[in-house]
C-alpha cells in the first residue's frame, strides 16, 4: 500500500505512528524484572516529588533506557534508510561503511590506554566513528566525487580490517575490560545516564531533520546519479550531505549503545512495505518505526531472562534475521 506523500498524509502517518510509540512506551514502562502496575507507573510519571522505589525504577532506570532506545532506534533506522538510497543497495545498513567498527576501535582504545573514566568511552567511540567516516570517504572517492560502489567496497574493507584490529586489541585487554566491552559490542542500552541523553537528543533530532531536507533529492537519486543530475539535483552536494549525516547518526548511536544489529537494515525495508518508496514519507516512518521496534526489543531484553538482562543487540539479531528472511521470501514469491 502506498500513499502519495502529500504533507497531509505525512502528518497523518507521523501522528498515528507517534501514538503507537507512546502506547509502546507505556507498556514497556510497566514491564521489567519488578512488577509494577500501570497505576504506579503513572503516579511515578506525573508526580515528580515522589521518591518511592517505584518512582526510582520508573524514572531512573526504565525511562532513561526507553528514551535512549527511542533515540538510537530512530537514528539507526534513518541512517539505514539514507544509506540504502545513497548506495542504491538494499543490503546497506549503518554498519556497512565500517563506522561501527571504527567506533568500537575507539572505545577499546580508550580502555586500553587506561580509560578509567566511564565517559571517555563514548567520546573515544565517537571520535573513532568520525575518523572512519572521513577515511572511508577519502578512500571511496573517485574523480573528485563519491561513487556508490567504490564507497561500499571501501567501507566493507575498512570494516573487516577494523574487526581484525578489534580482535587483536581484545586479546590484550584484561578479562575485566573484555567483559564490559563484550556487552557494548553486542549492543547494550543499559549504561547511559539521563544527563547524556540531554546531549544526545538534540544531536540526533537535528541530524534526522537534516536528512529529511534531502528526502526529495533522495527520491530522484534512486533513479541513478546521472539521471538525478539531469533533473537538476546537485548530486555531489546531496551525496556528501547524506553520507555525513547518516554516518554521524550511526556514530552517535553506536558510541552510546554499541553496535545494535539488524535494525538499520530491517526498518527501511519494513517502512517501504508500509508506505512506499517516497523518502518524504519513508524517513519519518522509519524514524518512529525504528524507535518502536527498539523499545520493544529492549523490553524483551529486560524481561526474558529476568532478573538478569540480555544485551539488546542479542534480541535484535535473533529476531531480525528470521524477519528479514520472511520479508525476502514474501517479496520473492
Amino acid at each position: 500500500m502506498t500513499f502519495p506523500a502529500t504533507p497531509r498524509n505525512v502528518l497523518v502517518v507521523a501522528v498515528v505512528m507517534s501514538l503507537l510509540l507512546i502506547l509502546t512506551v507505556l507498556v514497556s514502562l510497566t514491564m521489567g524484572a519488578v512488577h509494577l502496575p500501570l497505576s504506579e507507573v503513572w503516579a511515578a510519571l506525573v508526580s515528580p516529588g515522589r521518591n518511592s522505589e517505584a518512582a526510582v525504577i520508573v524514572r531512573q532506570i526504565r525511562l532513561p533506557r526507553i528514551l535512549l532506545a527511542i533515540l538510537v532506534g530512530a537514528a539507526l533506522s534513518v541512517a539505514g534508510t539514507g544509506l540504502q538510497a545513497l548506495l542504491r543497495n538494499p543490503l546497506a545498513d549503518p554498519y556497512v561503511l565500517g563506522i561501527s567498527s571504527g567506533a568500537a576501535v575507539g572505545a577499546i582504545f580508550a580502555l586500553w590506554i587506561g580509560g578509567r573514566v566511564a565517559s571517555a568511552s563514548p567520546l573515544a567511540a565517537f571520535a573513532g566513528a568520525v575518523i572512519t567516516m572521513v577515511w572511508v570517504y577519502l578512500l571511496g572517492r573517485r574523480g573528485g566525487r563519491m561513487a556508490s560502489y567504490t564507497l561500499i567496497l571501501a567501507g566493507v574493507i575498512t570494516a573487516s580490517f577494523l574487526s581484525a584490529v578489534i580482535l587483536f586489541m581484545l586479546t590484550l585487554l584484561s578479562t575485566r575490560d573484555v567483559r564490559g566491552i563484550a556487552f557494548w559490542l553486542m549492543g547494550d542500552l543499559s549504561v547511559t545516564p539521563l544527563t547524556e541523553l540531554r546531549l544526545l537528543a538534540p544531536a540526533i533530532i537535528l541530524a534526522i531533520a537534516g536528512l529529511y531536507v534531502f528526502s526529495k533529492d533522495l527520491n530522484v537519486l534512486l533513479l541513478g546519479s546521472e539521471e538525478a543530475a539531469h533533473l537538476g539535483v546537485n548530486v555531489a552536494r546531496v551525496e556528501l550531505g547524506v553520507y555525513i549525516l547518516a554516518s554521524l547518526l550511526t556514530g552517535i548511536a553506536v558510541s552510546v549503545s554499541g553496535a545494535i544489529g539488524y535494525l538499520g537494515l530491517l526498518v527501511p525495508h519494513l517502512g517501504r512495505m508500509l508506505v512506499g518508496n517516497d523518502h518524504r514519507m519513508l524517513l519519518p516512518t522509519a524514524a518512529i518505526g525504528g524507535a518502536i521496534l527498539l523499545v520493544l526489543s529492549d523490553t524483551l531484553a529486560r524481561t526474558v531472562v529476568a532478573p538478569s538482562e540480555l544485551p539488546v543487540g542479542a534480541v535484535t539479531a535473533v529476531a531480525g534475521a528470521p524477519v528479514f528472511i520472511y520479508l525476502l521470501r514474501k517479496a520473492a514469491g
Binding site: 524484572a33 532506570i61 566511564a118 532478573p307 538478569s308
Partner: protein, 403 residues
C-alpha cells in the same frame, strides 16, 4: 548547634565502626604508602593489593568461568583475552586524627558521642573510604541491608555472621545453602538494577573479578554505594575478608576467621615441607587449553599446596596454552575443577590428540578437585587442604577424588 552535635556523633560513630578498641589507630595511612597489612603484625600479604599500589588481579569464580567458556564457544575470536589491569588499592578510613588521641577529652567526647548516637537514631552517617579496587565509596557506618554481587562475597558475608543482613545475592550464590533462598538479583555480569533497588540495600558488595565496572557505576548513580574487594593470592583473599569485616563492622570476627585460616595454611605448609614439588597443570578449559596465569589466586593455592603451577612464565590471568608448549613441560599432575558444566573424564583425554601422549594422562594422574578452589572466600583454605592432599597424599590430610 544541633548540626555540630550531629557531626560529632558521626565522627564518633565512624571511629567506633572502624576501630572497636580505644587508643590510637595503627592504621591511619595515607594512600601513597598503601594500607597497613591487613594481616596485622609481621604478616604482609604477598604483595598484591598493597605495596606498589599496582597489582595484578584475576581470579574468577566458577560461574564466570562458565561465562568465559560460553564466550569462548560462542566466539572463538574473543578467546584468550587476558592481561594486566591495575589496582590501586588502599583503604583510607576518614577519621580525623584528633578523635584518635587518647585522653580524658577523647573519652568524654566518646561518651557524648555514644549518647548522641542513641538519642539521634535517624542520623544516617557514612564515611568515605577507598575500596580495594581504588574506587572512592561512601560506606554507611552500620550497613545492615547488604546485597552481594558475587558468590565468594556471599560466603564471606555469611562467614562473618551477617547472613541475616544479606537482603539479596546472585543466581549463582549457592553456599552456604541458605544463600540459595535469598532474593536473587540476576547474574554477576548483568544483574537487574530494578531488583536491587526494591531490596533497598544500604551497601552493595562486588568484585571486579565477577562484576562489570558499569554495574557499579549504575548502582552509584541510583544512590547505592558499591564496595569492591579483590584478591590475587591466598593472602590477598584473607586480606579481603578482613577488609570486608572492617567495612561491615565485624572486624573482630573477621580477624579470628583470618587467624584460623592462616593457622590452617601454616599447618599445610609444615606438613608438606621437604616434599618434592610436582608440576601441576590446572585446566580451566581444555579446548582450547586455558590454564591459570601466575598471578591468579588459584596458582597461589597450588604453590601453597606444594606444587609448581605450569604457566609461571605465561602472561595474563587465564592464558591459553598450546599443546606444543605443554608437552615438553610434562606436568606431573593435572587438576580439573569439578563443575556442573565441566566434567570430561580421563578416558576422553586418553583419546585426545596431544593429550594422550602426556605421561600424566597415560598414568592417570588426573584429579578432579572441588570448584571451591575457584572462589576466593573462606573456603579457599578447604581447597588448599584438598589440593595438598592430592599433590602429597602420603603426608597431607585429605585425598582428592580420583577418577
Amino acid at each position: 548547634m544541633r548540626g555540630c552535635l550531629v557531626m560529632l556523633a558521626q565522627l564518633i560513630r565512624a571511629r567506633r565502626a572502624t576501630d572497636p578498641s580505644p587508643g590510637p589507630r595503627p592504621d591511619e595511612v595515607n594512600r601513597d604508602r598503601g594500607p597497613p597489612s591487613p594481616l596485622g603484625r609481621g604478616q604482609r600479604p604477598n604483595s598484591h593489593p598493597l605495596s606498589s599500589g599496582r597489582g595484578r588481579s584475576q581470579g574468577l569464580d566458577h560461574c564466570i568461568q562458565r561465562k568465559v567458556r560460553d564466550t569462548l564457544t560462542a566466539c572463538s575470536g574473543l578467546t584468550f583475552f587476558m592481561v594486566k589491569y591495575d589496582i590501586h588499592s588502599a583503604q583510607v578510613p576518614s577519621c580525623p586524627s584528633g578523635v584518635n588521641s587518647p585522653g580524658s577529652a577523647a573519652v568524654w567526647l566518646y561518651v557524648v558521642g555514644v549518647a548522641l548516637s542513641i538519642l539521634l537514631p535517624a542520623v544516617a552517617s557514612a564515611r568515605t573510604v577507598i575500596d580495594q579496587t581504588g574506587r572512592t565509596v561512601n560506606v554507611p557506618d552500620n550497613p545492615h541491608r547488604l546485597v552481594s554481587l558475587a558468590p565468594n562475597i556471599t560466603e564471606i558475608v555469611y562467614a562473618l555472621g551477617l547472613g541475616d543482613e544479606l537482603v539479596g545475592d546472585t543466581d549463582y550464590c549457592d553456599f552456604p545453602p541458605q544463600a540459595k533462598n535469598k532474593p536473587h538479583i540476576g547474574t554477576m555480569l548483568n544483574p537487574s538494577l530494578e531488583r536491587i533497588v526494591t531490596l533497598k540495600p544500604d551497601l552493595a558488595l562486588g568484585t571486579p573479578e565477577a562484576n562489570r565496572r558499569e554495574t557499579a557505576a549504575q548502582l552509584e548513580r541510583l544512590g547505592i554505594p558499591v564496595y569492591g574487594v579483590t584478591a590475587s593470592t591466598l593472602a590477598g583473599t584473607l586480606a579481603s575478608i578482613e577488609d570486608l569485616g572492617k567495612i561491615l563492622g565485624r572486624a573482630s570476627e573477621a580477624r579470628s576467621l583470618v587467624v584460623e585460616m592462616q593457622s590452617r595454611i601454616d599447618q599445610v605448609e609444615k606438613r608438606i615441607e621437604g616434599q618434592p614439588k610436582p608440576k601441576v597443570l590446572f585446566v580451566v578449559w581444555y579446548r582450547p587449553l586455558i590454564t591459570v596465569g601466575p598471578t591468579t589466586f588459584i596458582a597461589d593455592v597450588i604453590r601453597a599446596a606444594g606444587g609448581i603451577p605450569i604457566g609461571e612464565n605465561l602472561k595474563g590471568e587465564w592464558p591459553r596454552l598450546t599443546l606444543e608448549e605443554l608437552l615438553p613441560q610434562n606436568p606431573g599432575v593435572i587438576l580439573l575443577p569439578k563443575t556442573e558444566s565441566f566434567s570430561p573424564n580421563t578416558e576422553d583425554f586418553q583419546s585426545l590428540p596431544g593429550w594422550k601422549d602426556l605421561p600424566a594422562v597415560k598414568e592417570r594422574r588426573m584429579f578432579f578437585v572441588s570448584e571451591t578452589v575457584m572462589r576466593p572466600g573462606p573456603r579457599l583454605v578447604d581447597a588448599l587442604e584438598e589440593l595438598a592432599g592430592v599433590l602429597h597424599p602420603t603426608v597431607a590430610f585429605k585425598t582428592g577424588e580420583r577418577r
